[in-house]
Assembly symmetry: C2
């Protein structure tokens, strides 16, 4: 193949020229710690890396090996980092999911994440323990194509926007609120952040908006001062976008500019031109835009809440046409997002995201189909989310180790259900709202093709069904289709097997279903969960495991807790 030849040539050249052209190891030394920070101009405590919030941006090339030496400088908390969208093929212990792929790193200790970034694309990383993502533990991970390779589109420059939402209540207190009886909901975020920067209770665009918020008073040097995107006229730019929100579904627009979606979750798309785009938590995109508008003006880039009744101001940054002064505010009001509950718009947007011609196609048939009904439930008065009536409680011993070593008491060995009752009416509150806790695993036969039907339903309250973006670790899946109401086998005829997009995150719309297909070809134990952090905290996830017998020796550092530690430490005395 072309790329193999290039790689070989590159490596030969490297031997002679000490070149950095081909796959290389990239080393990082990171320390995670709490620090004072003012993400939205209001001082708070964030979880930062090496004194930065968000954490440092990693740029690598496809095929590179990353070595991230992560030291936990938190006083009493464990920590892990998940490399969202990276397959971790051959290194499932480096997936960075506490209770699943590894033991949390103890305070004062260091764990080295060693893994290959095998596919160019836009990714990010984030905490995956408790609600540490909400605390601010995230950053961008950008993988460029291998030298000599080309992206299937052209651009002259690029920008990176990492989107998140921010609360003034600490994530610790949010955890307590969510786990209380009665549950206290965390509410809508105070502020949306773009690259960790936002403005609480003021608007850069106050002159143009009807909102009661006041004009922001920024001197430019604040931690919350918005990024400005400086562009030259008549060029094409790539905007990389990732959403690390804890809750918010977003819509992004560039005033007066069309955008063309070309990449999602590290997979190329059939170019798709839009004037605004939805982005759900856990998704990443690349869009191209051309600076073909009047060059004497600046333009707004806006990020707004969708899918929940918004109570958070639009986040804004400025697209600045050089040589126009960046301090000239745009003379048009910021873009207006579609109505928060215009789900037809959302469905239409999502269903037009399709794979670039020539992308890998899904197997024609599935070996197993798992239908996952998500419901909101009460367990002993505690509000939880459940999948087929089991609300996920993560065990003290990570699954990867306990499955690998056959430790029977590490989690529920009862198989979680493949489906839910035929009489369940997804359009109404459940007649029996009770549920139970569970920690069982969907054991997948290695190299088989799995269909997952995500089935949405009414929540506890009548006439409420929420959006949930589901993220799969260790794999991309094909999104075969979306539908409304309860899925039935006849809906299979609507599946798109021709050019479904490969993604690692897909949304289910209110009262709808989403059909996914993937090949269980990555030995390991993998989380599959709603990427809304409080929903996962309340049990909205499942665990898949496949081919664990093929997993090579798991580093002891990933096993130093729970029953795996016990087993390995006890053996020494035998």
């Amino acid at each position: 193949m072309g790329s193999a030849r290039v790689f070989l040539l590159c490596c030969i050249l490297a031997i002679f020229f000490h070149s950095v052209l081909c796959a290389k190891s990239r080393h990082f030394k990171w320390e995670v710690e709490y620090m004072h920070w003012a993400p939205d101009c209001v001082e708070a405590v964030v979880m930062g890396i090496n004194g930065q919030f968000p954490g440092p941006t990693i740029r690598a090339r496809a095929g590179d090996n990353l070595h991230i030496e992560l030291t936990n400088k938190l006083p009493t908390e464990g920590v892990v980092i998940h490399w969202h969208g990276i397959s971790q093929f051959g290194t499932p212990w480096a997936d960075g999911t506490a209770s699943i792929s590894q033991c949390a790193i103890n305070p004062g200790e260091t764990f080295v994440y060693r893994f290959k970034v095998d596919k160019a694309g836009t990714y990010f990383y984030h905490g995956h323990y408790g609600m540490q993502r909400s605390a601010g533990l995230y950053g961008s991970l950008i993988v460029e194509v291998t030298d000599g390779e080309k992206e299937p589109f052209h651009y002259d420059g690029e920008f990176n926007l990492l989107l998140s939402d921010w609360w003034h209540k600490s994530s610790h207190e949010q955890e307590v609120d969510l786990s209380s009886n009665p549950m206290r909901w965390i509410g809508e975020p105070q502020t949306l952040l773009i690259n960790g920067r936002g403005q609480f209770n003021c608007s850069l665009a106050a002159l143009f908006s009807n909102s009661s918020s006041s004009q922001c008073n920024l001197r430019g040097s604040e931690q919350c001062a918005p990024n400005i995107l400086h562009v030259l006229p008549n060029k094409t730019y790539r905007l990389r976008i990732a959403s690390s929100t804890a809750l918010a579904s977003l819509n992004l627009a560039i005033g007066n500019h069309k955008m063309t979606l070309v990449e999602a979750d590290g997979n190329y798309l059939e170019p798709y031109s839009v004037s605004n785009m939805d982005i759900y938590s856990g998704e990443t995109y690349s869009v191209l835009f051309t600076t073909d508008q009047e060059g004497s003006k600046n333009y707004w880039i806006s990020v707004s809440v969708r899918g929940r009744e918004p109570n958070t101001p639009q986040a804004l940054i400025i697209l600045n046409y050089i040589p126009t002064s960046a301090s000239n505010l745009p003379n048009l009001p910021p873009p207006v997002a579609p109505l928060w509950n215009d789900y037809n718009y959302s469905r239409s947007f999502s269903s037009k995201i399709l794979a670039l011609k020539g992308s890998p196609k899904p197997p024609k048939k599935h070996d197993r189909r798992i239908i996952l009904l998500n419901t909101q439930n009460l367990i002993d008065g505690y509000t939880k989310w459940a999948i087929n009536n089991l609300s996920l409680v993560l065990p003290a011993t990570p699954y990867l180790g306990s499955i690998r070593y056959g430790l029977n008491n590490a989690f529920d060995h009862k198989r979680p259900p493949e489906n839910f009752g035929p009489d369940y009416d997804v359009s109404k509150p459940a007649s029996n709202q009770n549920s139970t806790y569970g920690s069982g695993v969907y054991m997948l036969n290695f190299n088989t093709t799995i269909d997952v039907i995500l089935q949405n339903a009414n929540a506890l309250q009548a006439n409420v069904s929420e959006i949930h973006p589901w993220h799969l670790h260790g794999h991309d899946f094909w999104v075969l289709g979306y539908g409304e109401g309860r899925f039935n086998e006849k809906n299979e005829t609507q599946f798109n097997l021709k050019n479904p997009p490969l993604r690692n995150t897909a949304v289910i719309f209110p009262y709808g279903w989403t059909a996914l297909r993937f090949v269980a070809d990555n030995p390991g134990a993998w989380a599959f969960h709603c990427h809304i952090e409080p929903h996962l905290h309340m049990g909205m996830g499942v665990v898949f495991a496949e081919g664990v017998q093929h997993v090579k020796k798991i580093p002891n550092e990933a096993l130093a807790c729970g029953l795996t530690a016990k087993m390995l430490m006890n053996n020494v005395h035998k």
Copy 2:
């Protein structure tokens, strides 16, 4: 001996009568978790045990074996519990000090504390990881005399008062504040708590006080509603008092009633009659009082701040003479504590605390004398406390395991200094305020007699020297004396070798020294530190170790972190 005979008799009887008269095992199942609570009528998050704040009171008898099965239900934090004042002879891994005696218990995991309470007295327990004591992790531990034994004093009833201080800022945020550059001091507590109950910004005694605070409006059922001590006239009561404060030095008084100190830190005192008493963090006392006052009235019991310029209202509860209605407020104003900076008063009070006649006497001579200068310092701009210029940083691998297994890289192997420079002027800010971090250990020869001279000094700011109550784990020490200025060997002539009190906590006064003596007869690794939690967090402590070669097999559960986990897990592959 008398007690041995009683014990034997008791056990023989027990065999026949299934009696519970003699030493027994007491089992507890505890879960530590965060919960909403309003300790001072303002809702906050506290660290509770089994849904209680403070944690459950343990009552046992001397000689009992306690089994406390502690499950960590915190989302992401480790936890340990220290049994303050219990010697842990033969069970040094159960001392409950993270980084010293054991690895912190991971979320979801359980550790069983198994230890003997060998001596009757008033004790308490508390978190000893990060600032989890400040978060509210504490409770009372009361050890009664073995059946058939008698206390050397009489009383008709008893009450238990666990004293603490409370901030509205979370302990997590306090940790970040203290670790910032520049350091942000936590300030004075908002409220003093008695048995976990206090009143923020109001006073039960507003009618009588000059303070601007308003009368409290309590309905009696609130979590913050004060305890009432109901007493019968003409009886003698034992008041057990423990101070778990994070910062505050306290003074306690009972309006119109004298108190007689009879026990401190689990050791009997020569009865000492006072009208009010100082209590430093980490200290416990029993006092007797007789209800010999006018029975138609009620009386205030007051707790006030001393040793720091107070900015916290007095805590008050009511001593209610039955059958007078408990809702009758006392008609006298609450007791007025000595001036906060009347250190002569404090010194006088402390120096009159002496051992009951017949108590164990200290060895006449010491084998080694360690002089510990405490200073406030700057390290790279961070404000720290240091001992002989080393600011303690606790290692990831607990000392007990790393010393027991000879793991050389677990901590600094350079011996920490035995003294400080002869030119150091303790009365002024240091000419060189720099210091370094350290994790070295004072290795003590087993069964030798150690003198420790705690030497106070001026802090960073001129004319400031603070009170520090130092607490020793694993031992009681004799308090041989207090002095002013810099200790010199001639001061030895002032040592009280006749009836010095045995304590586990002793205070150093501003610009003064305190001389302690103990026998290094308890195999293990033991913290010795300022019991002010932010001071320990800022490095104010040292570690002693003795006879570690005699420590029996440490349970693996105490070793499952850091280099001990690595060693034990790696061995399996050899």
